[in-house]
Symmetry: C2
Amino acid sequence: MAAKVTIADVARAAGVSASTASVVFSGKIKVSDETAARVRAAAAELGYRGPDPRAASLRTGRSGIVGVVMSSSLRTAFLDPIAIATMDGIATSVAPLGAGILLLRDDGRTPAATEVPLDAAVLFGTHSENPELVENLVERGIPVVAVEGDPAWGVPVISLDNTEAQAQLAHHIAGLGHRNVAVVSLRWGPTTEPGFVSPASTPVIDVTRERLAGVREVFENPNVFSARGSSVDFGIEAANAILDRYQPTAILAQSDLLAAGVIRAATERGLSVPKDLSVTGFDGVAVDGLAPYQLTTMHQPAYDKGRAVGDAIARLLEGEKAPSVRFTCTFRPGNTTAPPAHSSVN
Amino acid sequence: MAAKVTIADVARAAGVSASTASVVFSGKIKVSDETAARVRAAAAELGYRGPDPRAASLRTGRSGIVGVVMSSSLRTAFLDPIAIATMDGIATSVAPLGAGILLLRDDGRTPAATEVPLDAAVLFGTHSENPELVENLVERGIPVVAVEGDPAWGVPVISLDNTEAQAQLAHHIAGLGHRNVAVVSLRWGPTTEPGFVSPASTPVIDVTRERLAGVREVFENPNVFSARGSSVDFGIEAANAILDRYQPTAILAQSDLLAAGVIRAATERGLSVPKDLSVTGFDGVAVDGLAPYQLTTMHQPAYDKGRAVGDAIARLLEGEKAPSVRFTCTFRPGNTTAPPAHSSVN
DNA sequence: TTGTAAGCGTTATCAG
DNA sequence: CTGATAACGCTTACAA
């Protein structure tokens, strides 16, 4: 536990100046092999482990940290495979920038994004609640990129063609002849309870709203059950509520996890999928344990979305403008949709 | 985009010294309301958003960042609900320290843990491969805590009574009268392919080894299939391989996810659980969509393990010693185990 | 190729 | 309660 040894100590021991020693470690300028060796030897001798990142980051203005601001707990956020894939994409794409991912929440339960040495910040999910955060970050000169948020903030937004994609699924269902469909939606608002929602109501959460709009382009007035979130169990809950009350020939779920739950609930009631009930998902993730069903769904390029975030950050860090990017989902037919049976099973 | 405004600018504008202005923002020392107001007004005027975290962290020696070093990709790590719960616990317990979680890997695909301003580091999973990292961190005076690792490094380890817990499950199965059991294990080594393993082989990964030892305390020579990792689908794969070759009356899976896959595979083959096949898990997580089965399993306090990590960090940061902690799993009986049928179904 | 000088923006300490 | 002073440990023009 010797007192802290600094680069100056190393330089002194090696008989060179601090700047030379610094350069030996950063490798940014050529140093004669001989002096470099001397510096390294001195460092080893003194137990110097390389520059202190704190001091380096003050000097260079870079910390190697990209903050990802989420609006929910870690546990909740990472329940969603899409969130994980996106994060993975972000992590991968910022790695070449020499950066890592710092998990932050915007509710005061973690250090504020403004109290941590960030090189850039990613707004993950809906943050419409908290425009001051964005403003603060931007005024500090910290590049900000949003995933699936409100483009109004003037920051680049990496998003999806949610409405069009969901409409495509709805058209597929309509084309098969279905007229009587129901929707299992994602969370309506940040704190909304699950349940049926009135046709007049509009979802607060962007993704929910956009996807629902896609269904409504095709089906006038579907019954909508807003789930507690995206999971198989919530899908089961929603499907049971729907099937207790209505006899739709198709259910459009706003996520694959929810769809898997719908299938589970339907088959447990003795309904055959897709003969008695067609089911569609959204996301195109591999739902663990769903086999032998293959969901008819829209695949979203979550990982690529994450990579786009990193690209945008890189651009912003260079002082360039970064454009918003809207990714396109692709239709993935499975074996969970079919024309409706002529008569209701009931 | 005015040039960067510093606390000195604010102080000057407010007609006070920089130190006074600093104290207004940190709140660590009393300042007269009047001067405080003047400083704040000046800050607002100039668009000063508070101290630069980089400079503050150099000066104070604290960055508010706890690094979590994982050995796999984000995607892989977060597939496991236990990992998520543990991370959640860590995030929660370091929050009061004013810290957030920085996701790091030890394979050069993210900034090295040594290049980032960490207040502390958590080694997540097996890091036996990389003792230099630990050494480097420790020499820098950065507190290190390990989750489920090798206690040999001299850092506190937060772990589980894996062997005893698994043995408890094995005794439960033996007590029901089972004599012919098989095991679905977690990954054998960091890069091992799935498959049956020879009785002589010992797992490289700590958790796998410890849990297997628990089974072997009770059952001499079970057939062991090492899965590709912890997921329902890998469990299905493993169970099918086992049931193709053997007729065990019970399968002990090393995770709940694997156990869920075993159940799925078994029921798809027409075996009834638990009548024809008893199945146990490990972890005690709520497996999404497993209902109506309730796994007989050991519950591990993953979240609390995470909290213990935070506690250890807090202690280390105070300069105290932090003890290693070994958590105890609790038996959770479900409806997936029963005495073996008198004759094989086959 | 190496050294000199000048901060990066803050905050702890201590005196007033 | 406020101010002066001195670091925190490093990097980077620029000069030699």
